[in-house]
Subunit: 562 residues, 2 copies
């Protein structure tokens, strides 16, 4: 049964919405025309002078939005992020939203935007979902310029004695392109370069994306770029961007990309959308600059971290928050009844049928994430993102499951009603912030060994039994400690679909072992990536890519974009 027959699509709602000139939105948060670098009438970057000026302002409160493990049924984390911002806006609070910018990979591949949905969207959604202000293109270009400079260094005499079998810097495209995962380059004879194995990642997994998202400013960005390890020499010592002497050129390519982008929601709540690492193969949070700037301009900042709390939120708290000194005052965990039913064993085709038993079974997934956030010492609120097909019995079941566990919970209907549908959630959030004493503590110390940091995340965040390292990873553990990288946090690359590293294990799996097949140094970003299971840093396109339905009319209006 579908009750959505006459419901407008996200793009139709977005195209019908009234959008204000961004300068008007900026004025409400105390910015003037001089603070903005306009990209059309509805998008702007904040100028470097403005960013500098704001640094000394006092900071507002940060609210982190996370979710249960995603399923094909949809959770709507971005939608709730936007809706909660709009709700606080309606309550008269000075509020800003800080979100990630979308990658064209999923946009061209699978239907599903990163700009919220229904009446809780950021605008202009077509632009944001396409090229936006070019940040991802600048990152792709810097990533690939570095790759070209490395291969040119090999070709022109290889002064740094780079071992071409040990180049770890990969090329990137902001697309889903599985055929580029493993390639051989430099073929065709001596004037075509040095043949070697290589591979492409999707841009969101590039270390440059992480560096841009974790940098405090352009100066810090350049420093971090110079520290990035690109290869090892024949003595097996790391070779960095600084050794190549090209951090200046890379920073130059990123000088505009490092500035956050101001847009608005359908209800004209200001939003900074900046940086877009995925949470399964990268650290999954919008830029530090966006979150901090938003906190200088508003009393409340709603920010999201990617996928479930096992990925985005864990990394927000252990990586982004720790490095930037940002502590959320409250965490919102988004769940849907449909998704919990899938975690409870219902196949996607049967989600239309009432099934409170499956809901109860799937609740264990939500419960694990609640426990995790509690273990960080943070106040939390569960947001039930209500779908029209949810039955009263199911809603009652989920509410009482939460109440039994004394979990603060609110129903939200922001997709259908915009900010109004998020007022209950907003009030609970304000209440939690006011009444709870925050006692934030990370789950591991930076001084722990890399191995133990990974183990802590596996056991305490995923609920696994242990972690197993491949022989390659075991060797890397030793090498990395010897290079002095032992005190960096870890960035887990893991499937988003399960708490384990096996995407088929839904709900709350137990007794599982997580397999680390390889480690990757991200010394510029400041973390060690641990690749688990079969997770891939370059997605593929599905049988019928979303691109097949896309079009543009003669006036330049997008068609079929969500």
């Amino acid at each position: 049964m579908s009750v959505n027959i006459n419901v407008k699509s996200d793009i139709e709602i977005a195209q019908d919405a009234t959008i204000k000139p961004i300068i008007e939105v900026a004025e409400k948060i105390g910015l003037t025309n001089d603070d903005l670098e306009l990209y059309g009438k509805y998008k702007a970057k904040l100028s470097s002078e403005t960013l500098k000026k704001l640094e000394t302002e006092k900071s507002g409160k940060v609210i982190l939005v996370t979710a249960i493990n995603p399923t094909p049924a949809g959770e709507g984390k971005s939608t709730v992020t936007v809706g909660l911002g709009d709700a606080l806006h309606q309550l008269g609070k000075k509020v800003m939203i800080a979100m990630r910018e979308p990658s064209l990979g999923p946009t061209m591949g699978i239907k599903g935007g990163a700009t919220g949905g229904g009446y809780a969207q950021v605008l202009p959604m077509e632009d944001i979902n396409l090229h936006f202000t070019g940040d991802l293109h600048a990152i792709t270009t810097a990533n690939n310029a570095l790759a070209a400079l490395i291969d040119n260094h090999l070709q022109q005499g290889n002064e740094l004695n780079i071992d071409q079998r040990r180049i770890v810097w990969k090329r990137a495209v902001d697309l889903n392109d599985r055929a580029l995962r493993k390639v051989i380059i430099g073929l065709g004879g001596p004037i075509q370069g040095v043949p070697r194995e290589d591979g492409f990642d999707i841009t969101v997994a590039s270390e440059i994306m992480a560096v841009l998202c974790l940098a405090n400013d352009l100066k810090d960005l350049k420093l971090r770029l110079s520290r990035m390890v690109v290869a090892y020499n024949f003595k097996k010592e790391p070779v960095t961007v600084g050794d190549l002497g090209v951090e200046g050129a890379l920073a130059l390519l990123l000088k505009d990309a490092v500035k956050p982008n101001l847009v608005q929601t359908i209800e004209h709540t200001p939003a900074l959308i900046h940086g877009g690492p995925f949470a399964n193969i990268a650290h999954g949070c919008n830029s530090v600059i966006a979150t901090k700037t938003a906190s200088k301009l508003a009393d409340y900042v709603i920010t999201e971290a990617g996928f479930g709390a096992d990925l985005g939120a864990e990394k927000f708290l252990h990586i982004k928050g720790r490095s930037a000194g940002i502590k959320p005052e409250a965490v919102v965990i988004v769940a849907t009844i449909r998704a919990l039913k899938m975690h409870g064993g219902v196949p996607k085709t049967e989600l239309g049928q009432e099934n409170s038993n499956a809901l109860t079974a799937g609740f264990t997934n939500l419960k694990k994430h609640v426990e995790t956030i509690k273990s960080f010492g943070l106040p939390l609120i569960v947001a039930i993102n209500k779908f029209v097909a949810d039955t009263d019995l199911e809603v009652e079941t989920l509410l009482s499951l939460c109440e039994k566990e004394e979990i603060p919970v609110a129903l939200t209907e922001v997709w259908e009603k915009g900010g109004k549908g998020g007022l209950a959630l907003a009030e609970k959030v304000l209440n939690e912030i006011e009444n709870n004493q925050m006692d934030f503590n990370p789950l591991y110390d930076l001084s722990d060994s890399i191995e133990n940091k990974i183990r802590t995340v596996v056991q305490n965040v995923y609920g696994g039994k242990d972690v197993e390292f491949s022989s390659k990873a075991q060797k890397q553990l030793k090498d990395f400690e010897s290079f002095g990288w032992g005190s960096l946090p870890v960035c887990m690359a893991k499937t988003q679909y399960s708490l384990s590293d096996d995407p088929s294990k839904l709900g709350r799996p137990t007794d599982f072992v997580v397999h680390v097949r390889e480690l990757k140094p991200s010394i510029g970003a400041g973390f060690i990536v641990a690749l688990t299971g079969d997770v891939m840093t370059m997605p593929g396109l599905p049988k019928s890519p979303a691109a097949l339905k896309m079009d543009v009319d003669e006036e330049g209006n997008a068609i079929g974009l969500f």
Copy 2:
């Protein structure tokens, strides 16, 4: 001897120049804020409504700027284009400049901008030379999205029976990256795609760049995209973008890139900078939309075509002009004394020494281009782009060589003096337009065979004896005629350094044979590319790339960018 010790660099001059808000520049040509989509304060795209509105206006006169074959000594074609525009502006004419946008490949590789030089530059030069308004990134993305969709088609069952050995669509990066010329992709087993040979072109050589530059509007763009041939099936029939059904998605990715970009010169003359195919490996002209739009907004449009008249101008006249119905009223051929001396046999290190004998010997190169433009029936003026080190004797020698041949000639000093240094040239150009009856005729008919069209260009434009086709190219000649592509114009891919296909043959070589090694169908662009000699569609980086000297300060100011 160098007399340039205290001369400011191009970027210093650009950074010291006073730039006006682009809206003020737009107002002078009758545009308002509503016609513009701002990209910061100093760049704007013209809206689709404005482009549509202008279509019915009457057209101004187009002046084409071309040059002798380039040498490492420099010619300054872009500089003269800008300076001539500024000079006409000073003379009170309603004038616009239409130019190509730079590629990051040469920017990161070799010192030398595409935004003019000295006091004849377009601003903001840093932005234009870096990401500008993102057009090239949009083209790269569309190019690579198509590639990913082709490989995904193979992977998902290959309904169109594409022969993976006969995929002609290559991937692209807007960088010089020789290691990507020949690659093998799809390695790693069945879930990583279908292994096959592939290669990357620089973005400016992508057919999508040509399509964007030759399209009349967004509708025409989509039609052209759908006609692009990407592969052949197992029956050796062409497979197009239309067969894949993705022209809508590609057009969507290009919906903003198709709009021309408005900027200004140092003297605030309005300029449209749009599209950037190289003239050696592509058709070498800015977009039809930019040239036509400029001609609707101004009485005089100064536009350039890449490299020497054997490449850019020939393609302007046979491809762009013919397809769009644009005929230049006059052609300016830029030459420098230094470059002619190199054509006369002087090595670069000895260019500082007076040598009017070498100048006289090298004059043959200029003379050939003059003859070519005359053979098209067009009025022409030689512009001697004066360098401070040119001696009086050398200047006198060149002037009298031109006068003896009855070639209209003017000295220009636009690098040093801006528009004022181009007044003499501007007056000669106006005079030629007024007094000469234009009798434009292309050198070949579209109904000629592909083979004969190529032969005509080789004999009549290059001055060669004949053309030789590889066995592959011979087979392609037959196939292409059988596919019905015989009536398309040809786009020669040839070294820019020589009239022949051998870059070492300077001056005016004779009795040479041009070797066509391969043909490439560009059915969306509407031409057949003939690859001659060793010309490559992906450049390499030099021993010491320009990137090594680039930097950015904490305020975001570019350093070392020319």
